[in-house]
């Protein structure tokens, strides 16, 4: 007969405690650098685990190696092909081996840009930041609030903490123990334990896309997008200030090449967007680029995007268009790296 035993109860507590201790001992920054991103991901489109893992791996790279770091939201992610496509193009144009790492993720915001830059920047890097009018009109601190307690990335940087404090939030409590400081990141990914038995997740960074909108869905879609456009006049100054701090941080790290790219927009709905806001954004971003001696590129017209290339108002669906977009971006990055001259071009 099985009888409950006092020894077993103490043993169970010890086993549970050992489990927690093992997490603290195993899940360290060093573990993150050595582990395949696909082992940490809970599903093919677990972007934030992927970006966290790649960012850790970047820290291990030879600082003399030239790395192109791409930061953006989902529209930028969906506009580009595989990193290796850009790598091949840029390396061929520059005549040296260049690494391209796309650290974009859906809804990635300016605070997260600052945090990633702080985490990975080295002097030889080239940083390309996706920035559209919606981003500058959006993301007042109230929108970022939910991510304060549960940061989406598995690292906390000084730049992140600084932005929190500036926005009136408390600085995150730091214990110095990586697992504890990033507890929510790991807790949310507890089901990734299954990867130890089933093997790594098959990464598909376009996995979260939905089918192309049907004709009768456009009105509702655009109404939702337009309602979600923030207040440009109220938010633009504070968002440009965050962008300025990002540029200053990168300059302090010795980064010479910084570019801003305007994300793609479906030509079908361009006329529906708030034209005054878009025009003001164009003026502001160009003046920002000139003041800080950085490049600003708009690739839509050059690539020749069409309505059928998109799923919705900004997400490119066609692989061949992603290739064309990647080629154009590679061409701009190569020219910028070769000449060293910033370039503000339509």
């Amino acid at each position: 007969m099985v009888r409950p035993s006092f020894g077993a109860a103490i043993g169970a507590l010890l086993v549970a405690f050992t489990g927690i201790l093992l997490c603290i001992l195993i899940l360290t920054p060093d573990f993150m650098r050595r582990t395949d991103p696909a082992m940490l991901m809970t599903r093919p489109g677990d972007h934030y685990a992927y970006v966290t893992s790649r960012a850790f791996q970047l820290q291990e790279e030879d600082p003399d190696k030239r790395v192109v770091v791409l930061l953006g939201a989902s529209s930028f992610l969906h506009a580009l092909g595989d990193d290796s496509e850009l790598e091949t193009e840029i390396s061929r144009e520059l005549g040296e081996q260049v690494q391209v790492v796309n650290l974009s993720a859906p809804g990635e915001n300016l605070w997260e840009y600052a945090s990633i830059c702080d985490f990975v920047a080295t002097p030889n890097d080239i940083f390309v930041l996706d920035l559209g009018a919606k981003r500058i009109a959006d993301f007042a601190s109230i929108k970022i609030g939910p991510y304060v307690k549960r940061p989406r990335f598995g690292f906390i940087t000084d730049a992140w903490t600084d932005e929190l404090i500036r926005a009136g939030f408390d600085a995150p409590k730091s214990t110095g123990v990586y697992f504890i400081d990033n507890f929510n990141f790991f807790l949310a990914r507890r089901t990734a334990v299954k990867n130890l038995i089933l093997g790594p997740v098959k990464i598909n960074r376009y996995n979260d896309a939905r089918p192309r909108l049907a004709d009768d869905e456009w009105d509702e879609h655009m109404a939702r997008i337009l309602a979600d456009f923030g207040d440009y006049d109220a938010n633009s100054d504070s968002n440009f200030l965050i962008l300025e701090r990002i540029v200053k941080l990168l300059r302090l790290r010795g980064v010479q090449h910084i570019a801003i790219v305007n994300p793609p927009v479906n030509p079908r709905i361009k006329h529906l967007l708030p034209q005054q806001m878009i025009a003001k954004f164009e003026d502001d971003v160009q003046s920002f680029a000139e003041t800080h001696d950085i490049s600003y590129w708009r690739l839509d017209a050059t690539v020749g995007l069409q309505d059928s290339d998109f799923d919705d108002w900004c997400h490119i669906r066609a692989p061949e268009v992603r290739s064309a977009y990647s080629k154009e971006l590679s061409r701009r990055i190569s020219a910028y790296a070769r000449t060293g001259r910033s370039d503000i071009s339509p």
Binding site: S5, G7, G11, S74, P106
Partner: protein, 44 residues
């Protein structure tokens, strides 16, 4: 002697099974209370 070994073995198995269940339960409980979930973008 045999009975002692069987008792120790039984307690160890109980401790392992209960301990792992306790660990999983704590993780689930904490995740519920803190709302820790993998972020899914709703913009699509």
């Amino acid at each position: 002697m045999k009975r002692t070994i069987a008792r120790i073995l039984g307690s160890t198995i109980q401790a392992l099974v209960l301990g792992i269940l306790l660990f999983v339960a704590i993780a689930n409980l904490v995740s519920l209370s803190t709302g820790a979930t993998v972020f899914r973008y709703q913009g699509f």
